[in-house]
Structures are given as C-alpha cells and as structure tokens.
Symmetry: C2
Subunit: 570 residues, 2 copies
Amino acid sequence: MKLIVVGGVAGGMSAAARARRLDENAEIIVLERGEHVSFANCGLPYFVGGEIAAEADLLVQTPESLRNSLNLDVRTNHDVTAVDAAAKVVHVQTPHGTATLAYDALILAPGARAVRPPIPGVDSPVVTTLRTVGDAVALREHVLGGARRAVVLGAGFIGLEAAEALRMRGLEVDVVELADHVLPPLEAEMASLVRDELGRLGITVHDGVAAVSIDSDTGTDTGTGHAATVVLADGSRLPADIVVLSVGVTPDTAPFAAAGVACERGAIVVDEHGATSIDGIWAVGDATVCTDAVTGLRRPVALAGPANRAGRLVADAVLRPAKARPMPAPVGTAIVRIGDLAAAMTGANRRSLEAAGIGYQTVHLHPNSHAGYFPGAQAIHLLMHIRVTDGLILGAQAVGADGVDKRIDVLATAIRTHLTAADLMDLDLAYAPPYGSAKDPVNLAGMIAENVVDGTVTVWQADRLAEVASSAAVLDVRSAQEYATGHVRDALLVPHTEIRERLDEITAFAAGRPLRVYCESGMRSYLATRILAAAGLDVAHLSGGMSTLRARLGDAGGLLVVPDAEPAHA
Amino acid sequence: MKLIVVGGVAGGMSAAARARRLDENAEIIVLERGEHVSFANCGLPYFVGGEIAAEADLLVQTPESLRNSLNLDVRTNHDVTAVDAAAKVVHVQTPHGTATLAYDALILAPGARAVRPPIPGVDSPVVTTLRTVGDAVALREHVLGGARRAVVLGAGFIGLEAAEALRMRGLEVDVVELADHVLPPLEAEMASLVRDELGRLGITVHDGVAAVSIDSDTGTDTGTGHAATVVLADGSRLPADIVVLSVGVTPDTAPFAAAGVACERGAIVVDEHGATSIDGIWAVGDATVCTDAVTGLRRPVALAGPANRAGRLVADAVLRPAKARPMPAPVGTAIVRIGDLAAAMTGANRRSLEAAGIGYQTVHLHPNSHAGYFPGAQAIHLLMHIRVTDGLILGAQAVGADGVDKRIDVLATAIRTHLTAADLMDLDLAYAPPYGSAKDPVNLAGMIAENVVDGTVTVWQADRLAEVASSAAVLDVRSAQEYATGHVRDALLVPHTEIRERLDEITAFAAGRPLRVYCESGMRSYLATRILAAAGLDVAHLSGGMSTLRARLGDAGGLLVVPDAEPAHA
C-alpha cells in the first residue's frame, strides 16, 4: 500500500499517523506545501502576543520526529500541482524541480487559505495574514521592531486573537468588521459582552463597516508616521504600521477540482467516510464540505478539532474499511479567549436556524460559575436555543470569566446526543462549591427551557422591546434601587416580594393590556409571572432580564430611561 | 391543597419552592428540625477553614426570605416525631410544645445523620461532626480558640474537606481511614495522588486502620497537653484537641418507618416519582434509596445535586402528576478539592462493577489539561471503565490541577446518554489552546478505549505486575534517562524510536514469552505495540504506563528498581 497525504497539518497529519499505526508496512508520504508540518496553528496569535515564547514551541512535530516515531516520509515545501486520477499519480513542485509520485490511496488535506477581499492596497507588504509559522514570526519581528499601530480586518476568532496579541505588545489596535458585531457567529447579546471586553483592553472596534482601501503611505509623506492608512466606508482613516487580514478562509482545492474531484463552492464533497467522487481519493479538514449536525445545512467547518479527529477516521476508511466509523456531522463547537473572558458556542445560531426553517425559542440565564457563597463566583452569560415542539437543544452560547468552556462542552455533548431541555435537568454534574452549584448552570438552563416548552411560563425576547413598550403594561419587579439605575420607560415598579399584596394595583395598571414583566436576570420575574398567571392575568417575562436586554439593545433607542431623565411617574 | 415538607435543606426546600411556583394557592409548611433551612451544607468546611468568611454567607435563604418570595410557612426547630398516615397528620415537637398538623400531601426529606461508630469515647465533647451551621460555628470557634491538633475520623469527601480546612488554620491534622485508601470510592491509583497532595499540605494519613478508642485526657494529666488521644488499632496514639467524626451517614427515618413507610436498610423506598409505599407520602434526598444508573444496584446517594434536582421533580409529581417526569437514576458524579487538586468521579467503580458482575476493562491516560504548547498546561490523570462487549462507558475518574471538573462532567453526560468509547471520539468539544486540545482528553479517552474494544491493541493492568514480571518479557520503550530513574526489574530498554531496527534483538529477548511493554504514560508503548504486533509477537502494553503503575503500586514490592540498586543487566 502506497499512501500519499497532501497536507501535513491537523487532518492530514492525523490521518498519516493513524495510517502508520494501522499498517506498519504501508509506504506513507506526506506532502506539505509549507515549511512546517504539524505545527500549532491555533497557537500562532499567542506566539505573536508573547504568551508562547519560543518558535520551537509551535513545532509540535518535525519531519525527523515523525520519521523516528512513525516512519513517515514527510516532505515539506512540496506543492501538489496536479493529480492524474486515472494514472493514480500526483505531480509535485519540489524545492529541486518537479516530481511525479504514484499512489494507491490519496488523502487530500490541503486546508484553506485566507480570503483576500478585493480592496485596493490589499496586496501591499504592510498587509499580512496569520496562517503559518512564517507569518507569525514575521509579524512578531515587525511588532518587536517598533510597530505602534495595527489594524485587524475581520473580527472573527483569529482576528480577535490577533488583535489581543498585538494589544498585549502595546500597540494601538483597531478592529474592523463588516458584520453588525464582532464574532459574527455569536448572537448579538453575547457579542456585545466581548466588545465591552475589547474596549476594556483598549482595542477599538469598528463594526458594521467595510474597509474600502489600504493606502500605503510612503514614509512620512502623509504625515502620519505610519506605513499605511486603512480607509473605511464611513470615512474613518485608521493609521497602521501593520494590517492583519482575517476575513475568512476559502478551501484551497484548485488542483483537485481540476483533476475532477467533485467540489461544491470550492470545497471538496465527501461521503461519511471521507471518500471523494473519485475512487482512491479521500479528503478531510477545512477543504471539505460537511452537513451540519443540527440544521442539516451543508457548510465547510474550518476548525482544528473536527479536522484532527476526522483525519483519524479517514485513515480507518482507507486501511480497514470494514471497521471504519462514519465521520460525525459537525456540531460546530468553538471557543475564544478575549482578555479575561471566554466566549463559546455550540450548535446552531439564530441565523442558521432561520436559514434552515427550524422553529426555535431562546432562553437566557446568568448563573454563577460556582456556588455564590464560595469566593470567586462569576456570572456566566448563557443562552440556549431549543426546538419549540419538543425542547430539543439546538444551540447554546456562553460568555464569562470562568466555567464557560465546561458548560459549552456539556451542552455540545447534549446536542450530539439529541438531548432535550428536560434531559438537561437530570444531568448528574460534579458539584462541590469551588466547581459548580447543586443546580448547575446546565441543569438550570434545562429547567428554564422546560418551563417554556411545557407552558409553565411564557417569555418575551429583548428584541421585541419596542413592540412590548407600545402595546403592553410593563412591570419591573426588581428593587427600587435597581429601578433607579435604569428601567424600561413607563414600567411600574413592584418588587417581586410585594406582588401578592399589590395584585389589585397591578391589575389596574394592566388595564386589560398584557403584562410584560422583567427583573435583572429573569429569576424574580419568573416567580412574579407564576403569581400573576395564577391571578388570571396575561403575563410573560423577559428572557434573561435587563442583563440580556442591555447586552442586546444598548440604550434601546430611548426605551430605557433613568428616573432623572424621564417625567415623574404617576 | 395542604402540603407539608419535612426537612428544609436541599431536596425538601427545592420541593417546597417548586410546589409554590406550581400552585400559588397551596398551603405549604416546611418543618425543619434544625435551626436553619436552605443553608450551604457543602460550604461548611470552607467556613471552618476561613475561605467563607461570614456565617451569614452560609444562610442562602431564611424563613423570612422564603415567606417573602415564595409565601412558604417555614418552621425551624420543628421535629416531626410521628406520622399518622391514616389520619393524614404529623406530630411535631416545637419549641413551644407538641403540635399536630394535617396534610393532604407529605414530602419527607429528613436527610441523613452522621454515623457514630461504637468506639469508646465517641460521645466525648471533644468529638464533633460537621453537618450543621451550628457544628461549623462551634468548630471554627474551637479552632480560633487555640486548638492545635485535630484528628479526622473518615477520609471521605467531607472528612478530607474538614482536614484541609483545619490544616489551613494551622492545626496539625491526622486523618484516619478504615478502608485501604483515602476517598474509598476512588480507585487506588487515583486515591494515591490525593494522598500525595494531603502529604504536601502537611496532613498525615493513617489508612487501612481503625480507631479503637478516643481517650479524653483530663487537662495536662496525660502530659500531652491535648484534650484527647485517639488510639488506633496499630497502637498509634494521636493527640487531639478536636476530633471530627466523618465516617458516613445513615438515613434519618425512624419516625417514618414507624409509621409504616417501607424502608430498605433504613432508607425510604420510593418509586420513580418519589412516591413511598403509603398513599399521600413522597420522599426525596439522602433518606431515600435509589437504583444506580450504571450497575442497577440499589443504594442511597447522599449528594446535594441529585437531592436538589429530585426535590423539584417530586413537587411536580405531587402537584401535576400528569406532567411529572420520572426521577433519573443517579450516575453518582462527585468532586472534591484537595489543595491544588480536584478529584472527581462519575458512574461505577471497580468495586461496584464487580458487585454487579459487569465485565469491564480499564484505560488510563495522562493528557494535558490544555494544549501542551500553551503555558500552564497540567496533567490530568484520567481513567475510564468500559464494558468489554461494546465499549459502553461505565465509569470514569480523574485527578488533576486543572480541567478535571470539565472532563468528568462531559463523561457524566456521556454515561447518562449511554455513549460508547467510540462515541467519545466524535464529541465536538470547545477547543482553543487555553482550554483544551484538538483531541481533547475526552476524545483521547475514547480513542484509547476503542483501540482496546476493537482489538487494535491489548493492554495489561498495573495490578498484574507480579504475574507479568514472572512470566513475560518486559520491554521498556522510554528513553535511557527515564529508565535510569526507575524501571521494572529485568525490563529490556529499547526506546520506542529504535523498535523497528532492533526487532531481532527484541524477538530474541522475548524467547517465546509474551512481550509486555510499557512507557511513562501509555502513548509510546502503544506505538511500540503496534509495530511488535505487526511483527507477529504476542504483545500488550501497560495501561497508563509507569505513571499509573507507580500511583497504584508504589514501589511494587521490589519489582520496581533503579539501576544502581540492581545487579548489572546483561
């Protein structure tokens, strides 16, 4: 068996290593276009920022270590330029000329390359991407060489990691994002928390705006003293010594498509075992298209974890097909550290659920990371999308300083295993005061969602505030002190402990209108809603309370007021 | 509806609160024998140790706060002495005399009380338990009043938390445990890591030994200057100003058993909705007996999390039976912090699997808590028991400084949802370098276990070392430097990168015997095993490597040697 693997990072190297463990006698050649294999691509921003000190730390494996331990023939700076599937050969550009290599099985793991948007100046030397060890080394040298200002184009995961790294080095950093908010896959009420943290770090965010040109400044001619100016559609001019381009990736598949491997929007189409449309050719990783586990939509998933795990399964499919397991549909779990926060997501978001036409409801909560009475507890801001018909968990997102990764991992497992909100209530999670609560945030998310699914309560969502404010009677059940810090315009203040004795007053205030209740986090308003529903009122409470509302709407276009700023209330 | 709940902590108060949320008009009385309701029972050790500063922090709710928010009639210092199930009344000892209260529904959540072993002196005033706020306040006062030495009887969860707390206050602390090792539900190779940490904290452990008496010393008469001496079966005499008794709990059910409520070894028997044998009476929490989710064995589960969650379900069963979900069988997830470590477990352990007659295999691994190239990565020592027939996950345990709670929570979810080892490989967990690895420890556990289940490799367990050493050829595939720090007697050293070129030498060394391979963690020996199996040898590798072997066996009765201490090897 002669196996050729194209691409020596993540999925490709995972496949090659597994292949050797399955077949001691196979000839296994790994062809990597770049200078390094099996490097820590997810570590590059931290190398730029200085948390990872040595370049050597990024090189998890080398061709030598892979030959020694796994007897792999790893060839760097080898670029596959063409495949002849009928002859079962690949044509390779090597440092010493061209070569033709024969294969019995070919695994394609070419990955993706950075998208270069058609902006004037995008090819200027001041513009870099952060995809390779070479990129990271050059960027670090540039930073240590005195760069003072950076502009990051794209506020996705890598863009924000790069922005944080550059800021840690003391640069002034602007981040530009075309979408409405940073980390576009995150919901708005989560992304705003990340934006606040970026602000705290001293990073300036420009969202909802396009970069229209990158003007290279020739020395001090323009007077900025910086190498370039990034011009935005709103007229802003951002001086920059460095521009980091991170607006997305696109599958790097041209020679394979040319060889007849079926692709869909540039990504290689594979079956559940990674087989392509051509016999003897498999593919894995960022260059392939997958079927989303929740929505069933087809999409590429450019994540290291799924690629690494799938690489192993593809090797199984090639070398022992009878025992090979199908590759799992991706759930799309992801996490990023920003300053003191983690922001994480799993499963579908509103946009993908709407694209797939799946009816959903969203619940929000802000539980403590561990028992509130134990020192160091911090709020986790958590949302969960559930299917309205049965409470199936469709997606979840969380932002917080502690315990976010744990809850998202449990919820990712719950989504993979098709749990419902009610099932979450029953999970036996590890509890001691330093780690969680007797009702863990995940249990609570299940309880809150199940109350919605089974009709115990009705919730309203923050984005309906304008409609609610114009048509409903709004009841604030927080304390007078909380009310005084800002409340929904015209909301009646009745602290939740006074609901029972002031029912008549509330009924009169409602005057036949539906009652829409809120508190700070959603817990007291839930208790109030149960009392008011028992009194026969049409009542719903705000999912996630004012905490979520502020995160989603900011000042809500004047619908949030502080008492001094409004006419005295009757 | 007149609902009486007996017991105002965890399960009881959870039931009462949910009952109110379901029925605004019910009369709900909570009778609590103690002074406090809804207090932070899991926080008591941390209050003693000083991490929780104020007594008020332990009082999560008070009768007043519960009346205000939930209109509950909470009566502390009310002890239910008898139940007349036919008349549907309870007899109560109140601070002001006796009372008789009628109910429509009765929920029993009396909890468990500390076991007092029949040791002479156990009733001395120097002996305390740590079950109530009063216990904790008294213990803290004693500590702050100058106590210098403490003996903790019982090295379970609460015993160790108490020992750590007392040690944090500067006391000399001895812990006495009758079982072979601390934290008896933990496997030996995990418990030894906890014991090492206790030693690092300066806590002395006496395991596998009984306390036979607690001799009260009258002042300085005995010359120790301490209030008592704890005498052990091995003759040790441990001076003590304080003795904390924490050798287990027993359901506190006498009046209910006397009323005819069916019990099993003292614990109340309930159906899946918490109903007891008597109509109109339900029960929940530490006083009840459950069916274990993995083994099907019946056992009480004295854990706060399941009690809190079950309380809510019992209220559903009482107040809206048509919608009530069955209570989940407990998975038995638990965690404890000891010094810088967390020790956690979920599902079944060897003892319960053997009691249930379930055939299992165990895999061990020592992955990093997050990407090794990112600063701060620390080893997680993880084991997983799987069913031999199909890889069903039966139990898991982990000890480490970081990320233990997360992995155990994911595995607890996997056990609840009946995942197999192979399923674990597919979990999409949140990966960025500060949080995990592209192949998360949970994914790795699945890969390692699946290799065992499908026969890709065979493992041997550390406890078979004596048998292996006498009948097999043992191969050490670590580096010469590692070998020199200690190795299995007569093991041949062949670093894993030299296996291929030294196959003949290894075959000659085996001389027809089975080859048993090991390395430090189990990864290199796995690679070696695959090469040797391909060469036709009978080969198995050590689960978890030397790291697990040392943790399980210590010096293995002389089977582990360092080169200087052994005859020169041929």
